[in-house]
């Protein structure tokens, strides 16, 4: 029997490439200065779902919530083998914290009624690891975090979880939501023939922007929306249209979305600049080692 899988993915700034310009004065991340990438552990989540499909059949649907630019990670998911990509984008979702985000995602996932939901363990920008668990809670799905191995047998999943100082094996009934560790697998590369086709996949919001560009300022809004609709249906027939949902499409309660639905209040952000930089050389002699130890004891690194 096949399983229908949903994978939640996020586009994040590449925080491994933090340089001087990557932080703003106030200590927040300057997203414009960092390349936007596929959140690494979301790739592991996608790989896990693709393996389920390879083994048992079924479908893999990928959901990303965010600005239209998030279509890049959706396209990448299609290159790697996802069957369908869905963008949730809505200005009213701006400033959502993890609670609001997981609420919005839950409204979307509920429409799809999947057997399994996969999330990366955490995103490298916020590093909260909260969205997966909160989403499971709202869906009423069993939550299994820190997945490293997954075996499916009918309505049951057997999972090896990383618990930090070892692992445990658990069994869970489906439907369930798993958060996936980077140690679970090596994500497969994009398949080039798919990539060369699906590089043309677009969401309606992107198509509308392209129409703006080609028709120019002089065209009427009606002409633009007619042209957008024409191109969207053209893309649909080629199976290249990325599904796009707003908060109304997923019947979300606006009180739970965006700033209004986000209890997290940032109290203070501290910009900590590590002031070190000088280094000291100790010669590899007995007296050198002794003076190194002396310093380490003195500044309480050891002892």
């Amino acid at each position: 029997m096949g399983y229908n899988c949903v994978v939640c993915v996020k586009q994040v700034p590449d925080t491994k490439r933090i340089t001087g310009q990557a932080m703003k004065e106030d200590g927040t991340v300057n997203r414009a200065a960092l390349p936007a990438i596929f959140n690494p552990e979301d790739l592991n989540a996608l790989e896990e779902a693709l393996r389920v499909r390879d083994q048992h059949g079924g479908t893999v649907t990928v959901i990303a919530m965010g600005l239209p630019a998030a279509c890049d990670v959706l396209r990448d998911s299609l290159f790697r083998g996802a069957d369908r990509a869905i963008l949730i984008t809505d200005r009213r979702a701006a400033a959502s914290d993890t609670l609001a985000t997981s609420y919005i995602l839950s409204c979307a996932v509920r429409k799809l009624k999947p057997d399994l939901v996969f999330c990366g363990r955490q995103a490298i920008d916020g590093d909260t690891a909260q969205v997966g668990p909160q989403l499971a809670e709202k869906l009423g799905y069993t939550l299994v975090t820190y997945l490293e191995e997954l075996e499916l047998d009918g309505p049951m999943a057997r999972v090896k979880r990383n618990i930090g100082n070892g692992y445990e094996r658990v069994r869970s009934r489906l439907p369930a939501l798993f958060t996936v560790m980077e140690t679970a697998n090596h994500p497969r590369p994009p398949a080039l023939l798919k990539a060369l086709k699906c590089k043309k996949a677009r969401a309606p919001v992107e198509i509308a922007k392209a129409v703006d560009g080609t028709l120019g300022a002089s065209a009427t809004p009606e002409a633009k929306s007619a042209e957008t609709a024409r191109r969207c249906s053209d893309m649909q027939t080629q199976n290249l249209l990325i599904t796009q949902w707003n908060l109304d499409d997923i019947e979300a309660d606006l009180g739970w979305c965006g700033g209004a639905g986000s209890p997290t209040k940032v109290n203070r952000i501290q910009s900590i600049v590590l002031a070190g930089g000088d280094y000291k050389e100790f010669p590899p002699t007995d007296s050198g080692v002794a003076s190194l130890l002396g310093e380490l004891i003195q500044d309480h690194t050891i002892g």
Partner: protein, 583 residues
């Protein structure tokens, strides 16, 4: 994320600079495939975007997944199992799987078999990238010419049967040519092929030194005409791995340990004839071999690139006498010689691959234009002939220069690292070991020189240089360099004339062949650098240094060729001394 395409300044430059639009237009036959396949490009800009995406994926696999396994693969090697099967090193097995998942194992095959229809130039770039990560992987990834040979010459039935499984990476191939007594001289092949009453072919014999001989699809050169003793009695047969094919030995080698080198027994193994009888060596294997030679040139580029990078980084960080060793003039000079050597080999090899693409593409145009106006057909034929002559000369030249470069550069890299480089702690000793085979297989350097010589004697060199330089107004700094190239061409012409005048035998020509080819390569590379210099300030410096270094050497070579020196012919016995007596 390590990406061996995006982090390579030189490949990036050549990708921009070379005429990929022309290559793509020919390869895609004016983009006619776009109607049939939704992933085929509709115009040249889209094709180039596709090419960039393809190399981007290959570059990431090479940098992220393959390079970290190369040292382990070198240590572990392959295992010959009791049942005659071979288990790849884990890194190689994983890499082949990944490249298959990425649809890269059908790189040059047509779309209809699941291939990417990539041009030779792009495939050469990808081999360069892959070999930098692990030279041994190229011996499997870079063997796609086997599938291409099936595509070019086999029946439709055989193509349908084998090619889809080769593009998916499920099956790999081997070119099965060498025997104990038939190495450089393939005309001496003894393995025989015969038919039974029903017409079924069988192969019987022993082949040796077969790269990836454990693959599933073996293209075997065998004698089908026992009465014809030379190359015209040989045919090309496809043998599928099976109970009558046994790998009985894996060689223990100096380098490329991840590449299984097999001795294979064919015990009346069932076979299928590829193409026509008697054309095995003279048509099919020569075609396969030319592609393979460009492949080895690209493998050499990857090794040279990897070895250079280790030395560049080490010279920057290693301190002696209170300063980084890169601050010593002798080390700087050495590093720049290495860097220019890599760039020269890459320029030459890519241009050779480009010529092959033009030759093949124009050939397809000629075939498709039989009803065109006679003038148009004549023009196309002339163009095709031109690039055919180019690639015939440039292919062995690129193989010769690039492979020798990889040895020089990895040797110099070890010089920069000194004692540390001699130890197993750094990758340099692996690069040096890996490089050594490149001047030997797919024809030794001496054979590449022989294969290039006709073009040098017949002035294909002049036509190539003219094609590269064209008729244009050069900026002042380059104008003087172009004058140097013209002077060099005059020296080459003098040398050739001197050699031609020695009419008694071809021995004098053969004795000095390598020097003639060296002069020709220096000049072609100089022309390529001058052309590149119009688009890059760095390449202007490269062109200047190249000519400053090479012009004096060129004059020396000319003097040697015109010296009449023949001691190797006349006084060999005395100079070589007595034969060593066996202990």
């Amino acid at each position: 994320m390590a990406n061996f395409f995006t982090d390579n300044e030189d490949i990036q430059f050549l990708f921009q600079h070379m005429n990929l639009a022309r290559v793509a237009t020919l390869r895609e036959q004016n983009f006619r495939f776009a109607k049939e396949f939704d992933f085929a490009p509709a115009d040249a800009p889209e094709a180039i975007d596709n090419y960039r995406r393809i190399l981007d994926v290959i570059g990431e696999i090479a940098g992220e997944r393959v390079a970290p396994t190369a040292a382990d693969t070198d240590t572990v090697g392959n295992v010959l199992n009791a049942d005659g099967s071979v288990t790849y090193a884990p890194g190689i097995a994983e890499a082949v799987k990944l490249l298959g998942q990425a649809d890269a194992m059908g790189f040059i095959l047509p779309y209809r078999f699941g291939g990417l229809n990539g041009p030779n130039l792009l495939y050469t770039m990808s081999n360069d990238i892959v070999s930098r990560a692990d030279a041994a992987l190229m011996n499997i990834y870079g063997l796609q010419g086997i599938a291409e040979t099936i595509n070019a010459f086999a029946s439709e039935e055989i193509k349908q049967q084998y090619l889809p499984r080769m593009t998916s990476g499920e099956w790999t191939g081997a070119m099965v040519l060498t025997e104990p007594d038939a190495g450089s001289d393939l005309q001496a092949v003894k393995t025989k092929a015969y038919q039974d009453a029903s017409g079924q072919w069988f192969v019987r014999g022993v082949k040796r030194f077969i790269t990836n001989g454990c693959g599933e699809v073996l293209l075997v050169l065998a004698r089908t005409e026992p009465e014809i003793a030379d190359g015209r009695g040989l045919s090309c047969l496809l043998v599928e791995r099976g109970p009558r094919v046994r790998v009985r030995r894996l060689e223990h080698k100096l380098g490329i340990n991840g590449s299984p080198t097999c001795e294979i027994c064919f015990d009346d193994a069932p076979a299928k004839l590829i193409g026509e009888r008697r054309r095995g060596l003279i048509t099919y294997v020569m075609s396969l071999m030319n592609g393979a030679r460009i492949g080895i040139a690209a493998q050499s580029l990857g090794i040279g690139e990897a070895a250079y990078r280790v030395a560049r980084a080490y010279a920057h960080s290693r301190k002696q006498f209170n300063t980084a060793i890169e601050n010593f003039p002798a080390v700087r000079d050495l590093l720049l010689d290495m860097s220019l050597d890599v760039q020269a080999a890459r320029a030459l090899s890519y241009f050779a691959a480009y010529s092959v693409d033009l030759e093949e593409g124009l050939g397809a145009c000629v075939a498709a234009a039989q009803n065109a106006a006679p003038d148009e057909l004549k023009r196309l034929r002339a163009e095709e002939r031109k690039y055919k002559a180019f690639s015939k000369m440039l292919t062995p030249m690129a193989k010769y220069y690039a492979s020798e470069m990889s040895m020089r550069v990895s040797n110099s890299s070890m010089a920069v690292l000194g004692g540390s480089g001699y130890m197993k702690d750094y990758a340099v000793e692996r690069h040096l070991r890996d490089s050594r085979i490149t001047t030997i297989y797919e024809g030794t350097s001496q054979l590449q020189v022989v294969a290039s010589l006709a073009g040098v004697i017949g002035d294909t060199v002049g036509e190539v240089i003219q094609e590269i330089l064209g008729d244009r107004v050069w900026p002042h700094e380059l104008e003087t360099r172009v004058v140097h190239i013209r002077e060099g061409q005059a020296l080459l012409a003098e040398s050739v004339a001197f050699v031609k005048a020695q009419t008694a035998s071809n021995a004098y020509r053969d004795l000095h062949a390598r020097k003639l080819v060296d002069i020709a390569i220096d000049l072609i590379v100089a022309a390529l650098f001058c052309d590149q210099a119009t688009a890059s300030p760095k390449k202007l410096l490269v062109a200047k240094r190249w000519l400053a270094e090479r012009m004096p050497r060129l004059r020396m070579l000319k003097e040697q060729v015109c010296s009449g020196e023949t001691s190797a012919l006349t006084d060999f016995e005395i100079l070589a001394g007595p034969l060593p007596v066996a202990d």
